[in-house]
C-alpha cells in the first residue's frame, strides 16, 4: 500500500501560492536586499528616522527620567505624547517641570539625593544663552552655539523630523494629485487627457521657485503651508509617469476583462490598473522627497520657509552664513545634513528603479 512519505505538512493553497510566487513587490524586495547602494540608502534613512522619531531622547533640556525631591518625573518622555489628542488627560507633566521658568539642570541637585537621566544632548533647541554666543565646538556644545547661544547640535536634531516630514508630506500631496490626474488622463484619454496635459504644460513653464515664494506670501509660511505649496507644485512629474503607464495598461486584457465584468471606471483605474503603474511612480516620488527637502532648506535659507524659532536645516545654514567670519563652524552641520538627506533619497530612488524595472533586472 502507500508508504507514509516523509512528514510533509500539506500547506493550504494560500501559503503555497505565497511561497511559490512572492509577487512583484516580494521579488523587488529580494532584489533590493542584494542592492548594496540601495541598502546603504536604506540604512541612512533608518538612522534619520530614528533621530526623527525619538527626538526627545537625543536632545532636549528636560531629563528623560529623574528623581527630584523624592519624586519621579518624566517630562521629556511625556511631553511628545501630548501631540496625541486627548493624551493630556491620561498623562500629564508633573508640577515643577510644567513651568517654563523651571530649569531642571539647576534644580536637580545630586547632593540632595536627586538623580537624572539626560538626553544625549542636554540642551533645548531654543534654549538661548546670552553669555555663550557663537562659541566654537567644545565639550559642552559638541557643534558649538549659534548667534543667540543655542546649541547647534540640539537644533540640528530637532530639525530632522521637520525636514523628513516636509519631504514626505509634500510628496504625499503631490503623489495623490499626480496619481489621480495622471491615471484619469491616461485611462480616459480624449478631452480629459488634453485638459490635464495642458495644465501640466502650464506648470512646467511656471517658474516654480518664483511661484512658490509668491504662494508662501499669500499663505502664511507655516510648516503646513510650506508642505501644501511644495506639494501643489511638484505633482507634474508623477502625473506624467502615471499617464504614460496608464496608457500602456489600459489596452491590456485584464483591463478589458474588468470592464466586461461591469466594473466602474474608478474601480478599474484605482483598483486594477494603478497598482501596476506604481513602480515607476515610486522612483519619481523618492527623488521628489529629496527635491522637497532641498527646496525647503532653500526657502528657509531665504526666510520664506518654516518660521523661527523652529529650527530647520536651512535656517541654521542661514545663521552660519550671517556669521560666516565670526563662527564658520555653524555652516558645516546643516550642509552635511542636507547633503546626506538628499543623497539618501537619491540612493533609494536609484535602487528602486534598478529593482523594479523589468528591462534592467533581466532574469534575476
Amino acid at each position: 500500500m502507500t508508504e507514509p512519505g516523509p512528514a510533509t505538512a500539506t500547506p493550504d493553497r494560500a501559503t503555497l501560492a505565497a511561497r511559490v510566487n512572492p509577487g512583484f513587490w516580494g521579488l523587488a524586495w529580494r532584489r533590493y536586499r542584494r542592492h548594496p547602494t540601495g541598502m546603504i540608502g536604506l540604512a541612512l534613512f533608518a538612522a534619520m528616522m530614528l533621530v526623527a522619531l525619538f527626538t526627545p531622547f537625543f536632545a532636549g533640556r528636560q531629563p528623560l527620567i529623574c528623581s527630584y525631591e523624592g519624586e519621579i518625573h518624566m517630562r521629556a518622555v511625556i511631553e511628545p505624547l501630548h501631540k496625541i489628542p486627548g493624551a493630556e488627560h491620561v498623562v500629564s507633566v508633573s508640577k515643577p517641570f510644567r513651568y517654563p521658568s523651571f530649569s531642571p539642570r539647576e534644580a536637580i541637585d545630586e547632593a540632595k539625593g536627586d538623580w537624572a537621566v539626560w538626553p544625549l544632548v542636554p540642551w533645548g533647541p531654543n534654549e538661548t544663552n546670552p553669555l555663550g554666543k557663537l562659541k566654537a565646538p567644545s565639550e559642552a556644545h559638541l557643534l558649538g552655539t549659534d548667534d543667540v547661544g543655542r546649541d547647534v547640535l540640539s537644533r540640528m536634531i530637532h530639525a530632522t523630523p521637520i525636514a523628513l516630514m516636509i519631504g514626505f508630506v509634500a510628496m504625499g500631496i503631490a503623489t495623490v494629485i499626480g496619481l489621480t490626474a495622471g491615471a484619469l488622463a491616461g485611462y480616459l484619454g480624449g478631452r480629459v487627457d488634453i485638459g490635464v496635459s495642458r495644465v501640466i504644460e502650464v506648470f512646467i513653464c511656471v517658474p516654480v521657485f518664483y511661484v512658490i515664494l509668491i504662494a508662501l506670501l499669500v499663505a502664511e509660511p507655516s510648516i503646513w503651508n510650506v508642505m501644501i505649496v511644495l506639494g501643489l507644485f511638484s505633482w507634474t512629474g508623477i502625473a506624467r509617469y502615471t499617464r504614460a503607464e496608464m496608457m500602456k495598461l489600459q489596452g491590456q486584457d485584464y483591463a478589458l476583462a474588468a470592464r466586461a465584468l461591469g466594473a466602474s471606471t474608478p474601480r478599474i483605474v484605482f483598483r486594477h490598473l494603478l497598482p501596476n503603474a506604481l513602480a515607476p511612480v515610486l522612483v519619481v516620488v523618492a527623488f521628489g522627497v529629496a527635491g522637497a527637502i532641498f527646496v525647503e532648506s532653500g526657502l528657509s535659507w531665504l526666510g520664506f520657509g518654516v518660521q523661527p524659532p523652529q529650527a530647520t536645516w536651512g535656517s541654521i545654514l542661514r545663521t552660519g552664513w550671517d556669521n560666516l567670519r565670526a563662527a564658520p563652524h555653524i555652516i558645516f552641520p546643516p550642509s552635511a545634513a542636507i547633503f546626506i538627506a538628499v543623497l539618501t533619497m537619491n540612493l533609494i530612488g536609484d535602487a528602486l528603479r534598478d529593482v523594479t524595472d523589468p528591462r534592467l533586472t533581466g532574469s534575476a
Binding site: I204, I214, L217, I331, P334
Partner: protein, 324 residues
C-alpha cells in the same frame, strides 16, 4: 518643420496666458497692500491719503480682471509697466538684469557639456574601470549637494579663508579705473564661483547620461561591424558611437534652461549677483507687483524657448525625427 515650430509657438502663447493668469492672481492675493507699505508716515491721516493716491496711481483700485487685461494690453505693446519702488520702467530693469543671468546660464551649459561629455565617454569606454568607479562615486555625491550649500561652503573656503576669489557682486569697487584687460580679469574672477555652483550638478547628471547612452550605443550592431572591419577603437568611439550619444543629450538642454533660470534666486542672492532671480527677490520683498510679473513672464518665455529650441535641435541633429 517650420509649420511645427509655428504650431508650437502658438501653443506656447496659450500656455503663457495660463501661466500669467495664475501668477497674476497669486500676486494680487498677497495680503498687504503695496500702496499702504509705501505711504507709512507719522501722521495716520496723511498716510491714508497717500495710500489712496498711490493706489489710484498703481491702478490697484480697479478689479482684478480689468487690471489683468490692461496688463496684457500693455505687454502686447512691449510695455512692462513701471516699478512700484522707484517709478522706473520695468523693461529697463529687466534688460539690465538679463545679461548677468543669461551669460552665467549659457556659460554653465557650455562648460557643463564640455566637462560632462569627455568624462562620460571615458567612463563608458573604460566601463567598470577605476576611473569609471571613482569618478562615478564622486559625481554621484556631488549631485546630492544643493547648489546653495556648495555656494556657502565654497565662499567660506575659497573666498574667506584663502581669500582667492571675490564673491560679492559682478565687479569690484574700482572697476571703472581698470584697463580693458583688468576689467575682463575682474569679471572672470567675480563670475568663477557662481558659474561653478551653477554647473557642477549638471556635470554630474550629464556625464552619467552620456555614459549610459554610450554603453547602449556600443552594444549596437553597427559598432560591432565597425570593429570587425578593423576601424581603430578611438575612431569607433569618437566617430561612430559619440555622434549618437550626443542626440539624446540635446533633449537635456530643454530641461536644463528652466532649472538654471528658476534655480537662480538663491545663488544670485548669495553671490549678490545682479541678475533676474535677485531682481525678482527684491521685487517680492518690496511687493513690487510689476517687477514680479515681468520676471515671472520672462522666465516662462525663456523656459518655453529653451524647450522648443531643444526639440528643434533634436530634429536637426537626428534625421530620423520629423515633425510633420
Amino acid at each position: 518643420m517650420l509649420q511645427y515650430a509655428i504650431r508650437r509657438i502658438l501653443i506656447g502663447f496659450v500656455t503663457l496666458v495660463g501661466v500669467t493668469m495664475i501668477v497674476f492672481a497669486l500676486i494680487n492675493a498677497i495680503p498687504g497692500d503695496p500702496a499702504a507699505l509705501q505711504s507709512d508716515v507719522q501722521d495716520p491721516e496723511m498716510s491714508a491719503r497717500m495710500a489712496e493716491m498711490l493706489r489710484k496711481h498703481f491702478e490697484l483700485d480697479k478689479p482684478l480682471h480689468e487690471r489683468y487685461v490692461s496688463w496684457v494690453g500693455k505687454m502686447a505693446r512691449g510695455d512692462f509697466g513701471t516699478s512700484f519702488q522707484d517709478g522706473r520702467p520695468v523693461g529697463a530693469k529687466i534688460v539690465a538684469r538679463l545679461a548677468p543671468t543669461m551669460s552665467i546660464a549659457t556659460l554653465s551649459v557650455i562648460l557643463g557639456m564640455l566637462a560632462a561629455i569627455p568624462i562620460g565617454l571615458v567612463q563608458g569606454v573604460r566601463h567598470n574601470g577605476w576611473f569609471d568607479r571613482l569618478s562615478g562615486v564622486a559625481l554621484y555625491m556631488m549631485f546630492a549637494v544643493p547648489s546653495y550649500v556648495a555656494a556657502v561652503l565654497l565662499i567660506y573656503t575659497v573666498g574667506v579663508q584663502w581669500d582667492l576669489l571675490p564673491f560679492r557682486g559682478l565687479k569690484s569697487d574700482g572697476y571703472e579705473g581698470l584697463s580693458a584687460l583688468g576689467k575682463a580679469q575682474d569679471l572672470i574672477a567675480h563670475g568663477t564661483l557662481i558659474t561653478f555652483c551653477y554647473t557642477y550638478a549638471s556635470v554630474a547628471f550629464d556625464s552619467r547620461f552620456v555614459r549610459g547612452t554610450l554603453l547602449e550605443v556600443l552594444r549596437q550592431d553597427y559598432i560591432r561591424t565597425a570593429r570587425a572591419k578593423g576601424v581603430a577603437e578611438h575612431v569607433v568611439v569618437l566617430k561612430h558611437a559619440f555622434r549618437n550619444t550626443f542626440i539624446p543629450l540635446l533633449t537635456r538642454l530643454g530641461s536644463l534652461v528652466p532649472a538654471l533660470i528658476s534655480g537662480s534666486v538663491i545663488l544670485e542672492v548669495i553671490f549678490n549677483w545682479p541678475g533676474l532671480g535677485r531682481l525678482f527677490f527684491e521685487g517680492i520683498l518690496a511687493r513690487d507687483y510689476p517687477v514680479m510679473m515681468a520676471s515671472c513672464l520672462i522666465s516662462s518665455v525663456l523656459t518655453l524657448a529653451g524647450i522648443l529650441l531643444a526639440d528643434l535641435l533634436y530634429a536637426v541633429a537626428d534625421p530620423r525625427i520629423r515633425y510633420d
